[in-house]
Amino acid sequence: MNLRKLTLMGATSAVFAALFSTAPVVAAEDYMVLPSLVYRTGAYAPNGVPFANGVSDYIALVNARGGVNGIKIKLIECETGYKTDVGVECYEKLKKEGPVGAAVFNPLSTGITYQLIEKTWVDKVPVHSMGYGRTAAADGRVFKWTFNFPTSYWSQASAVIKYIGGQEGGMAKLKGKKIVHVHHNSPYGKEANPTLKILAEKYGFKLTLLPVDHPGQEQKATWLQVRRLRPDWVFMSGWGVMNQVAIKEAAAINYPMDKFIGNWWSSTESDVVPAGGAATGYKGTAFHGAGDSWPAHAAIKKEVHDKGKGAGPREGIGEVLYNRGVINMVYTTEAMRTAMGKFGTKALSGAEVRWGLENLNLTAARLKELGLGGFANPIKISCQDHETNGPVRIQQWDGKKWVFVSEWIVPMADVVRPQIEMAAANYAKEKKIAVRKCDGSD
């Protein structure tokens, strides 16, 4: 180590310090910044990649058609690796990006959502945790800046129990049945537990909760317990590699696959394909369609992929998580369109997009216009209800693709909604948040 080396190092660190100043952005026209927190790396990348591709492709399609009412969207990806602290760093970096700041955040991680919920009050940027995150955020009177439509973990859990009841020949037949909830041992995986406990009491079935620790590659002990319990049904809230391992383990103990239901983060191609033939018959929930048979998919192929702007492989179009990215962006862009109806056609700030989300009314006709008729359920958001207890469908893996095996199941709002309101009221009390009146004044 001599002085020359030291000087060299000093110079290196000086250059390094310069890196932190962000590069200047040339603002040529009005555009909106839409941050996309993705995880194309890390343990959950197999799930993160198709979702991020769906988001990117749909925004590319919207931009190729001139943007939202002519306003282009600048999608900025920020890689989180599903890590909460990195997600927070992304949020802090991107919240003020662009001419008017970020439009809305889609964290794609329950952990990151929990972090952002509190920050949004201060920064006035909405968070849309579509079918994940804090379920209590459904109460828009308390959670002004957070949305979790079209449906939540609690609604989903009640819909699954309703489906099981239907399969058993009526809710009364649930009495004495054994249902196991295999869940990821994290805030995400635990979300459904309180609802399941209430329903177990109401319908008299025996509920067993089996947590699986992150990342879930080792589940021998869990499935040994399942084997010993011989449950009538298994419901799973898993994520990432945990799902395929669980399916393989279930097959290894000869558990009937058609009595095994995954939640909507556990019923994707990346969960069943690695499990091979063992996964045939496995069921899962969904709040949107699978496959690429809609006109919007054809448009993405023609106007995005054929032009060389596609984000992922062409074969990936229509995968479950890809489609989830698409529907998320449909909600986002339609909320922007709604907000433009009130605030005028311009780049919208986070607060304005929040208004758009709260007043979103996505009709069946509009979905059809977007080339997604029947792809998802029509939805109408209100100040009170940021979730809408949206219906859920059961899909089944036939070995090659996902097929719907049930009609839309409406969750038990009478059970779920009071719980949501109670949890939200507790939160408001703990955090001293003023509850909104929802008469248009706040």
Binding site: M1, L3, K5, L6, M9, F16, L19, F20, T22, A23, V38, R40, T41, I76, E77, C78, E79, G81, T84, D85, V88, E89, E92, K93, K96, T110, G111, Y114, Q115, E118, K119, W121, V122, R134, N185, S186, P187, Y188, K190, E191, N193, P194, P211, D213, H214, A423, E430, K431, K432
Partner: protein, 357 residues
């Protein structure tokens, strides 16, 4: 020329015993502190404070805690994440059970809980050494995380199992919670680090610190000259865990605002261990420099690759892994004793400058 102690005579014992005997060092430290306390809050924006500087300060405190145990007392520990989790959960329980309690008292008391747990898991260190001890502390890591996930009482039976920092005030200024201003949190974290840094600096020059180093360098010899290994090692575990516990509580209250056990998993233990290895074992300054390197480098690289070179976020991430790994190897080869040693060499060179020989 600039950095030379010639002519600085010590005329009394207190001057001779000062932490920083050289005038230039004192000036340098004063400038750094004034810059950090006054200039930074004025010029840094929210992104800098919230996403870069506060995590850096929290990690620096954790690294300082581990450095006491591993760097000074020579006991390798992989339980840092677990001890930080104890601090975080204890502070959450204290803050929610006693809403009137002063937030500083909450932070320090949660450190005491962490210290108690640290002593308990430090007991095996009397019989096992080196890598075997690392495995024993690994048990602490996994057990504690499992415990906080399993027992609902620790997170007030909240269905999701996350803990949130409730808003608390200090001198009438909101210091925790999302509504607190980032510069307030920054100053709080900085004050904590400064206080603990000075305390540690003093501690390691005292009889206690010398006995730690004696144990580290050769425990049998230390025992022969009359150092009690039981008390010395456990004290190191206690103080180290205390500091780590406070860092964990800060992680909840000042940095993240809401955490789950995943935030304190084994990766955190490794991260903090890497910080002190890169920064310099047995050096207060090394803890801070190492934390700076491990926190700032990845963020800086990403910002450079994405912001300046316009690279895709994901390719940038992959490249970042490679470059970051390469840099760690580079620094360890060039200076195996850590970045703090570079600083020391720089000072020695400066002493001779501009006439080296």
């Amino acid at each position: 020329m600039l950095y030379r102690e010639a002519g600085q005579f010590k005329t009394n014992y207190s001057a001779d015993q000062a932490i920083f005997p050289i005038l230039q060092d004192r000036i340098f430290l004063a400038v750094v502190l004034i810059f950090a306390f006054v200039v930074v809050p004025l010029i840094a924006n929210d992104y800098w404070l919230q996403a870069i500087l506060i995590p850096f300060l929290v990690y620096a405190l954790a690294a300082l805690g581990l450095n006491i145990l591993t760097g000074y007392a020579g006991q390798i520990s992989l339980g840092t994440g677990g001890f930080m989790a104890v601090g975080a959960y204890a502070s959450y329980k204290l803050a929610t059970s006693f809403p009137e309690m002063n937030i500083i008292v909450v932070l320090l008391t949660s450190g005491l809980f962490s210290a108690a747990v640290g002593i308990f898991f430090g007991i095996p260190s009397l019989r096992i050494k080196g890598f075997y001890l690392a495995v024993a502390t690994l048990a602490a890591q996994f057990f504690l995380i499992w415990l906080f996930n399993k027992v609902g009482w620790f997170y007030n039976y909240n269905p999701s199992g996350t803990i949130d920092a409730p808003p608390r005030e200090l001198f009438g200024i909101l210091i925790t919670g999302a509504a607190a201003k980032p510069w307030v949190k920054y100053l709080a974290a900085l004050s904590m680090l400064t206080v603990f840094g000075l305390v540690t600096k003093n501690l390691v020059r005292s009889a206690v610190g010398r006995s730690w180093m004696a144990i580290r360098d050769m425990d049998i010899a230390a025992e022969i000259i009359g150092i009690n290994p039981l008390g010395t090692k456990l004290l190191a575990f206690a103080i180290s865990s205390f500091v780590c516990g406070v860092a964990g509580a800060e992680m909840l209250f000042l940095h993240l605002g809401s955490v789950e056990t995943l935030a304190f998993d084994i990766n955190l233990s490794f991260l903090v261990l890497f910080m002190i290895i890169i920064g310099g074992l047995g050096s207060v300054m090394g803890s801070v420099v190492g934390a700076a390197f491990m926190v700032l480098m990845p963020i800086g690289l990403t910002n450079f690759l994405v912001g300046w070179l316009g690279m895709q976020a994901t390719s940038a991430k992959h490249l970042e892994f490679m470059v970051f790994g390469g840099l760690i190897i580079f620094f360890l080869i060039v200076e195996p004793n850590g970045l703090a040693r570079l600083w020391q060499i720089a000072k020695e060179k400066l002493r001779l400058w501009p006439f080296p020989h």
